[in-house]
């Protein structure tokens, strides 16, 4: 009796162990896993008053104003490896009665230009500000170049100016980053 029961025990436990398996699965699929987050992030913004384009002290036009900011997050090698593209979106709202040339020059630490974007802004008026959009889409090669930059130089050029010029040039901007993270 005991011998039979012992045999039954081992038979059943062995069945339990060996009947089980992973059917209909393919674990090699893990190699095909690709994660592709798309991230929306504000970039820069400014409000440039018309008075910035005239020097009252010297009574002279200021035709070019510029400013620079570091964008440290662009330069990292980690982001460089996974960044597959980016859309830069700029929205200008102009209530100054002049058009503008605006450039965004992405510079390396030692001020070598890595990527240049340029656009024009239509003139507006204080009562009816004019909105201009500028979108620049970068593919993988272009974004690789841009990510060698550490900072951006923003240059705003006005064709002519005067003491009684009024209004504001407003910029809002964002970037969509397309990432691709593979196994």
């Amino acid at each position: 009796m005991d011998v039979k029961i012992t045999k039954l025990f081992f038979l059943l436990t062995s069945m339990l162990l060996f009947v089980s398996c992973f059917d209909g699965t393919d674990f090699d699929q893990a190699n095909d896993v690709v994660v592709t987050p798309e991230i929306e992030l504000d970039l820069i913004y400014f409000n440039l008053d018309a008075s910035s384009f005239y020097n009252n002290a010297t009574n002279t036009e200021v035709l070019v104003v510029e400013d620079t900011t570091d964008l440290d997050f662009l330069g990292g090698s980690d982001i460089n490896d996974i960044l597959k593209g980016a859309d830069f979106f700029f929205k200008f709202t102009n209530s100054i009665s002049r058009g503008f040339n605006v450039s965004f020059d992405f510079l390396s630490q030692d001020n070598v230009s890595r990527y240049l974007m340029q656009t024009t802004v239509a003139p507006g008026s204080e009562n009816t500000p004019v909105v201009s959009y500028f979108v620049q889409s970068l593919d993988e090669l272009q974004i690789k170049e841009l990510t060698k930059a550490k900072k951006v130089l923003v240059t705003v050029t006005i064709p002519s100016s005067s003491q009684d010029l009024t209004g504001v040039l407003n910029l809002q901007s964002k970037t969509t980053y397309y990432l691709e993270i593979e196994q």
């Binding site: 089980s20 398996c21 393919d26 987050p37």
Partner: protein
């Protein structure tokens, strides 16, 4: 050997309610029955677990997803399947690993005026639970582009992992003909512990009329914390030194804690009995080798505002980016602390009603004379069991219907049907074999899915070898 190990580990794939040992509860397996209810009815005089083989228990898995959901060989793109799986899961779904190894387990009946059954030993336990951080996973896997206006909740982050050894000593006494009670003291020695369970706050990208830039990225009411103990002193050590250090901690050299198990068996009559127990009612006091990381605050990011200052020759530009980083650090400081903390053990509660029926096992007339006249076992027992465990997100519950059939004193088979929040078709079975006092048991659940573990959400395995003197 590797294959065999894989099969054994695979058997442990996934549990719906981790740590529920419904098959071992109130069963013949003396050491483990006493570990699940210190007030269990003990009918033997002595037991000794085979060192390191007295009980091995493992389960690994998740509540809401099976291997098959993601790795099915069905021609569909795995990335689509991952995406579908994530949308199916909620932040209440969880992944668990629970493993226990009895290093020592022994017990003996102390005869005398007040007979009592003493038992003690030591086991090692690894217990980890991570709730699925759905919002954070979506943010990481898909980004925020398609989710403008959605609040990503940091409360979704809830995880805990503990590696510890437990030294225990219990006493079991038949208080009256009807009542048996028992209590077990436990001393915990934590080897490694990490937890992050009470997080709050949200991250959101919104479009708001009148905001300074296109978006507003806001972190609101952030309060997140990660607690670690036993990690920093291992940093930079060679593997052999790590092993040595962990061994020292296993031998009561870790952060210590104390706990208690208590339980009863109440015999209404010859057929009906009630059992109940509370396990791991206690805490570990992490006083040394701790490191806690805390981040707290609110912040709204609009990007970088340029102000086009008029710079004199050689004057440096404004460090906008550094200022931004400083702002964020000031508003949401990340503190690293080395203070101690106390962590409650995940307390479990068992309760059950048992009904014995059928003829008596053996033939000595209904009296087990070796055992002070307590009732003799019948061939069949059926009943209903309740189990719950306190987890970071509250109680997890399970209910079990079971049937036990004894074949002489040699073999006992227990079958269970368990229902919990995640599975309504969990059938388990266990076999207990006794040959000349040497006891071998094996128990596994979710047998319906045993033929293809890939589809299983819930399987657990317990095996053990003990010597019991009746």
């Amino acid at each position: 050997m590797k294959k065999l190990l894989f099969i054994y580990l695979a058997l442990g794939l996934s549990v719906a309610v981790s740590q529920n040992k419904q098959l071992l509860y109130n069963w013949e397996v003396t050491p483990q029955t006493l570990m699940l209810n210190p007030g269990a009815l003990v009918t033997n005089q002595f037991h000794a677990g085979i060192p390191l083989a007295s009980q091995f228990h493992i389960n690994v898995g998740s509540s809401g997803v099976s291997v098959f959901d993601v790795f099915a060989d069905d021609g569909l793109d795995i990335n689509t399947k991952i995406s579908n799986t994530i949308s199916k899961l909620s932040s209440r779904d969880f992944f668990t690993v629970n493993q226990q190894l009895d290093v020592l387990n022994f017990g003996w009946l102390s005869k005398g005026l007040e007979p009592m059954y003493f038992s003690g030993g030591m086991y090692q336990e690894l217990d980890a639970i991570a709730y699925f951080p759905k919002d954070i996973a979506i943010l990481a896997l898909e980004g925020n582009r398609e989710y403008i206006g959605k609040a990503y909740d940091f409360n979704d982050i809830s995880a805990r992992a503990d590696l510890l050894t437990v030294y225990h000593f219990g006493v079991n006494k038949q208080v009256s003909k009807k009542l048996t009670a028992g209590v077990r003291l436990k001393l915990y020695s934590s080897l490694i512990s990490v937890s992050s369970t009470r997080n709050k706050g949200a991250f959101k990208t919104t479009v708001r009329e009148g905001s300074a830039n296109i978006y507003e990225h806001t972190v609101t009411d952030l309060d997140v914390e990660v607690k670690t103990s036993g990690f920093i002193s291992l940093d930079g050590l060679e593997p052999s030194q790590v092993r040595k250090k962990l061994l020292g901690r296993a031998l009561l050299g870790g952060n210590l804690g104390i706990g208690i198990d208590a339980g009863i068996t109440y015999q209404f009559d010859n057929e009906l009995s009630l059992t109940a127990s509370v396990l791991d009612l206690g805490a570990i006091f992490h006083t040394k080798d701790t490191e806690l990381y805390k981040a707290k605050g609110d912040y709204t990011l609009n990007g970088i505002e340029l102000i086009f200052p008029e710079l004199e020759n050689g004057e440096p530009t404004i460090p906008y980016y550094d200022n931004l980083e400083d702002d964020i650090t000031r508003e949401i400081p990340v503190d690293t602390l080395n203070t101690g903390y106390t962590q409650l053990r995940p307390t479990k509660i068992n309760a059950a009603l048992h009904y014995d029926f059928g003829r008596f096992v053996g033939d000595n007339g209904g009296c087990n004379c070796k055992n002070n006249g307590t009732k003799q076992k019948r061939v069949s027992q059926a009943g209903v069991q309740y189990y719950s465990i306190f987890r970071p997100r509250g109680l997890q519950l399970a209910g079990t219907l079971y049937y036990t059939r004894r074949f002489g004193n040699t073999l006992s088979i227990k079958t269970t049907y368990t229902l919990d929040s995640y599975s309504a078709k969990n059938i388990g079975a266990g076999m207990f074999l006794n040959i000349a006092g040497v006891n071998l048991f094996l128990a596994a659940d979710n047998l319906l899915q045993m033929s293809n573990l890939a589809k299983a959400n819930s399987v657990s395995l317990q095996v053990g070898l003990n010597y019991i003197l009746n």
